[in-house]
């Protein structure tokens, strides 16, 4: 029945079914009226927000080899060390599974943070400091060793720095893994990890931490991707990347680093109802966008990520399918609180109001993005379009600048990368912003840099003379605003000094009730809408172009991708 509902929903959102017809079909399948109503509302929201379908053709079946053209290399196939979003979203998510799973291939949208996966259920203590994970029994890694509580603890201890608690780290502890995941483990304040039985793992925290579960799948998934300890025992740390062994629906077959990676269906996947449909997936690194498009047109790949926006209309005319969907992505600016002209809130508000974000999304980005209205990602439960961010209004912007003593405007420098992960078309977008800002008197000089050079400069915090910089991230987890807005956060590269954010974030993080936590995070968003330290510009819909031969392709509503249901029709 689930598959028939999925199919009906897809037809509804693609316009092949009327709302009445969908309701009749859903009722005949036994769905209750309130559920039908919720599905219709959800489908309407999806359709209103994006002009692109969420899925390709849906059809039962299996088989074939999927060839995926990726926009960059994957890095290391180790769930603790692989940091690239490309590595995780298209390669590792198929081999490894996380303690906390999300159902990203659901056409309706993300379900609750915990979808029964290798974790069956999670309990939280009344004081919010203890989380008990009940693991699915009977699961093995693909090397035959047991996935159990000991394996979970082994994996966590690779990246949890216990030296801060005065303890010695175990031999598998990795400094780089701990450094990369510190943004999660530091605020989580894990103090103890025990396994009362082989299928139960207990995390004990020093204090309640509301985003503990929702934060686990974030940031490369590496936080909780489970690899087989036996591989490390046999080959050492480098061996984990050379012999990736997880519990997932696919097995690693071979790779040529930086060129091609092949995974094959796991015939012994522990959940037969969600076993892989395709026989094999080949990931090919095609960094040049024109080459990727040519490969799709030439029939050599079935999927390409990050197609150039100018090519989308042409691809659609040729019979390829372009899917897109809201996801946690946020393209945002930060201003340097230490530059004198940004100290007045009216100036920051004026700058934000000068930018025609909807026009950028429509005309520059060809509707592959939405105007951002929140500092939260659109898939985050605390996202709202009622946070109070001002609308585009250059007339009012000029008035505010004059009131603040800047009737003649001012000059500033905007550092921007020329590319990079999640950056979309950064230079063109920066030029758009500069042109809009110039109309109200803010004269922006762009300072462009290659991505790693830019990260190096960005990570050091804005220096004197730099007024604006830009970044892209966002999470489905409620945790995200801690990163750019907390005054002590290492991502507060604009040196924003307002401790009211810290107070609200502390209250949000320690809330025991999820509704209270969400309300507090929304209060953070509302405060930012007034103070404008982080300027949310657009949310990328992350278009993907696929071959009409692909079946059951569902555009992910998160950073990660799930290819279990996808297959190729000959």
């Amino acid at each position: 029945m689930e598959r028939r509902i999925d199919g009906a929903l897809t037809d509804l959102m693609a316009g092949r079914l009327t709302r009445r017809a969908f309701a009749e079909r859903a009722a005949s399948l036994g769905l209750a009226l309130p559920v039908i109503g919720a599905l219709l509302r959800g489908a309407a929201a999806e359709a209103a927000e994006s002009g692109f379908p969420v899925t390709g053709p849906m059809e039962e079946g299996s088989g074939g080899t999927i060839v995926v053209g990726q926009e960059s290399n994957w890095d290391v196939l180790d769930p603790c060390l692989g940091t690239g979003a490309v590595t995780w979203r298209t390669c590792l998510y198929q081999i490894y599974e996380s303690l906390v799973a999300r159902e990203m291939d659901n056409p309706v949208g993300l379900t609750d943070p915990v979808v029964p996966g290798i974790t069956q259920s999670i309990d939280r203590s009344a004081d919010g400091k203890t989380y008990t994970f009940h693991l699915q029994p009977g699961i093995s890694f693909t090397d035959g060793t047991a996935f159990d509580a000991a394996a979970v603890i082994w994996n966590v201890e690779r990246q949890w720095d216990q030296s801060k608690l005065g303890r010695k780290n175990p031999p598998q502890f990795d400094t780089t893994a701990a450094a990369v995941r510190s943004w999660f483990w530091n605020p989580a304040q894990l103090v103890n990890l025990v396994a009362p039985d082989p299928h139960t793992v207990v995390f004990e925290l020093a204090a309640p931490f509301a985003p503990f579960v929702s934060g686990m799948p974030e940031s490369g998934l590496g936080t909780m991707g489970m690899s087989s300890p036996a591989v490390w025992k046999k080959y050492g740390t480098p061996g984990i990347a050379a012999h990736p062994v997880g519990t997932g629906p696919f097995l690693f077959e071979s790779q040529t680093p930086g060129d091609q990676l092949t995974i094959v269906k796991n015939p012994k996947y522990w959940n037969p109802t969600r076993a892989a449909k395709a026989d094999k997936i080949i990931f090919k690194a095609l960094t040049d966008p024109a080459t990727r498009v040519a490969a799709l047109r030439g029939g050599e790949v079935h999927v390409i990520f990050a197609p150039p926006v100018q090519e989308l209309a042409g691809l659609q005319r040729e019979g390829f399918i372009v899917t897109a969907r809201v996801n946690p992505h946020l393209w945002y600016l930060q201003v340097n609180a230490e530059e004198p002209y940004w100290k007045d809130r009216r100036v920051r508000q004026a700058f934000f109001m000068s930018i025609n974000r909807a026009g950028m999304a429509r005309n520059l980005l060809k509707e592959t993005a939405l105007s951002a209205v929140s500092v939260n990602g659109r898939t985050c439960p605390s996202w709202t379009d009622q946070a109070g961010y001002p609308e585009y209004n250059p007339t009012l912007a000029k008035k505010l600048l004059a009131e603040a003593g800047f009737e003649k405007g001012f000059d500033t420098v905007f550092q921007i990368p020329t590319g990079g992960s999640g950056e979309m078309e950064p230079v063109q977008m920066a030029e758009w912003i500069a042109a809009d800002a110039a109309r109200v008197g803010i004269r922006i000089k762009l300072q462009t840099m290659e991505w790693i050079s830019y990260l190096h400069a960005w990570a050091a915090g804005m220096k004197p003379g730099i007024g604006i910089n830009q970044q892209s991230w966002g999470m489905t987890s409620i945790y995200w605003p801690n990163l750019p807005l907390r005054t002590t956060s290492v991502l507060n590269v604009g040196h924003q000094p307002d401790k009211r954010f810290d107070q609200l974030l502390d209250a949000a993080n320690s809330a025991l009730d999820e509704k209270v936590a969400i309300a507090k995070y929304r209060a953070v968003d509302a405060l930012n809408a007034q103070e404008m330290w982080v300027l949310p510009i657009v949310n990328d819909l992350a278009p993907v172009a696929i071959s009409p031969k692909l079946r059951n392709f569902v555009h992910s509503s998160d950073w990660w991708w799930d290819f279990k249901k996808v297959w190729v029709k000959a």
């Binding site: 400094t175 480098p238 680093p257 930086g258 040049d288 040519a294 490969a295 790693i452 050079s453 990570a459």
Partner: protein
Amino acid sequence: MLSYAAKRAAAIVPTLIGVSLVTFALLHIVPGGPVVAILGMAASDPKAVAAVTRELGLNRSLPEQYWIWLRHALSGNFGTSTEFHVSVSTLLFPKLAHTLVLTAGSLVYAVVLGLVIGIATALYHRSLFDRLAMLLTLIGASAPVFWIGLLLIYLFAIRLQWLPALGMTSLLGGGGVLTVLKHLILPAFANSIISLAVIARIVRSSMLEALVQPYVLAARARGLPRWRQVIVHSFRNVLPDAITITGLQVGFLFGGALFVEVVFGWPGLGYLIYSSIEARDYVTMQAAVLIVSAVFVVVNLAADLARIALDPREVGA
């Protein structure tokens, strides 16, 4: 000749050490580094940066880092890639082989077509064919290689569907030498165009000089067939120039394959260098640049020795 060869061979090692030193210095001048590439946005955390810097040994002084690298490199150990976490040797040498295949294919195009066009345009000097051929070679030499590559893909892979668009073999597996050769046709041609143009022009101007030499006029007066006048008498004397320029072009073809490899998804050394630059994978970049330089130096030496073998007067020169 032997002492000349020995002198040149002895200069190879110091040359390569010099190249590695300059490369090392340039890498460390560029902002960012492997730590930033590894940590991404977590690089804003100074403690994380310090921890990974220590783990990679980048907290050592630059001279110490260079000395450690050089010592290991001289024994064939190029270190571990910070991007892929595998030994650089296992990354490098298969890709070197792929680039050599691409270079060989490009060389065949460049030499065969360059010689044919150079000789033909000299023979039909100032004809429409001569002018058209020189114009096309000028355009080919001036146009960006990646643009030419994309045009070739569009025409032959997408519109006509005669040839594959990318890769070295079929992505779906299978196929042998013939499959590789089929995949080689377009990228090798794209990579060869500039060298083809250079060889054609040099051969043309050398042939024009040779064709008016007294010994060629004498051959014509003796009633020798045209082909003997051209090949045996004229071209033979153009050969040293052709070999020298071809030798120089080999290095150019090898080192310049980067753009072609990116456009065609050819899994070679150039593409590895490109991704290593992006990832600030210092050890891989150093090793790759060293290999490219070594090939360049050795090929130039071979070209010079071949030229001397053909014309011993060159030793004194």
